[in-house]
Symmetry: C2
Subunit: 201 residues, 2 copies
Amino acid sequence: MTIHYPNGTQYQPHSANRPMHTNASLVKHGGRGMTLEQEINESNQYYLAHDIAVIHKKPTPIQIVKVDYPKRSAAVIREAYFRQASTTDYNGIYRGRYIDFDAKETKETTRFPLDNFHQHQVEHMRSCLKQGGICFGLVKFVTLDQLYLLKATDLIKYWDAQENGNGRKSIPLSAFEASAIPIKYSLNPIIAYLDAVDQLI
Amino acid sequence: MTIHYPNGTQYQPHSANRPMHTNASLVKHGGRGMTLEQEINESNQYYLAHDIAVIHKKPTPIQIVKVDYPKRSAAVIREAYFRQASTTDYNGIYRGRYIDFDAKETKETTRFPLDNFHQHQVEHMRSCLKQGGICFGLVKFVTLDQLYLLKATDLIKYWDAQENGNGRKSIPLSAFEASAIPIKYSLNPIIAYLDAVDQLI
């Protein structure tokens, strides 16, 4: 029997065509199938719940052009555009220190292209370093399934060399192996990146 | 003579019908006509440009439902809703310290109603304080043209008393005069709120 709801859409039981929603916060599977952003957000929730750190992802910046205010219901944004962020995506506090970083994924297997970062993100890190903040990138080589904490000072060194026209357009994997801090997947949190941060403090 | 550009729009000289854009960062007038948010943003720009602090307002959190991707032009968000933020609006770093605050305006003249803050903002401040952060509210009594730095510890004291049912629903102005830090308007930055923060460090 087919049940038709008043709006004309057809009822579909959960077991049928629709994918089941799994509760990501309950089902832990070492980050399989999750984006780096999801892995970081879950890890931040763990750190927050256990009073270890307060680190959040900033919302995506949006330029709002048109908003409808229907009676008796919530305001609806009808026209808006994505803007470029003027900072990195993540910041917060850990052990009294200001933490600031961005997350980047690459499918490359031998190098990390610098154009994954934007000029303003690098400048933002430079400013935060001057104030005594702890800044870095979390860089994931997706194909290799390898995750590194890349110190902002190292990133800036490669960035400036590229800007001056006498550097490469990417950071070789060998440089990560030599001077970045590898992060292993674990159960709780999925990525214990603050253990890597401990090595910077 | 009328000049038509290839796309059919008509050229308008700057002196004609269009309003001139005044450069808000050049014209300073002690905050007159600016919202508290604008005053803080301008002050933060000043602090950033002078290597004094790196403090930004977080973007408004938006739940995006529908996005159009027109050919050869930018993606357009066609349906989205405002979400409630899970943190305060401003954070950053100053003199090596993590700074976290929210800005509130009230038209009241004798008291600041606590419902200007949301539960999650107070909980966020509580978490940041535990990590050693510097947390506060910037509270402006618009009608009185008075601005105060309200320490998070004082805010939490009133908040918890209210929650426990044995406190007031607002903080009296007299309490601000007694224990909040007054902030005077100045030229550069418009509100030198980090001078008030110095008294907390």
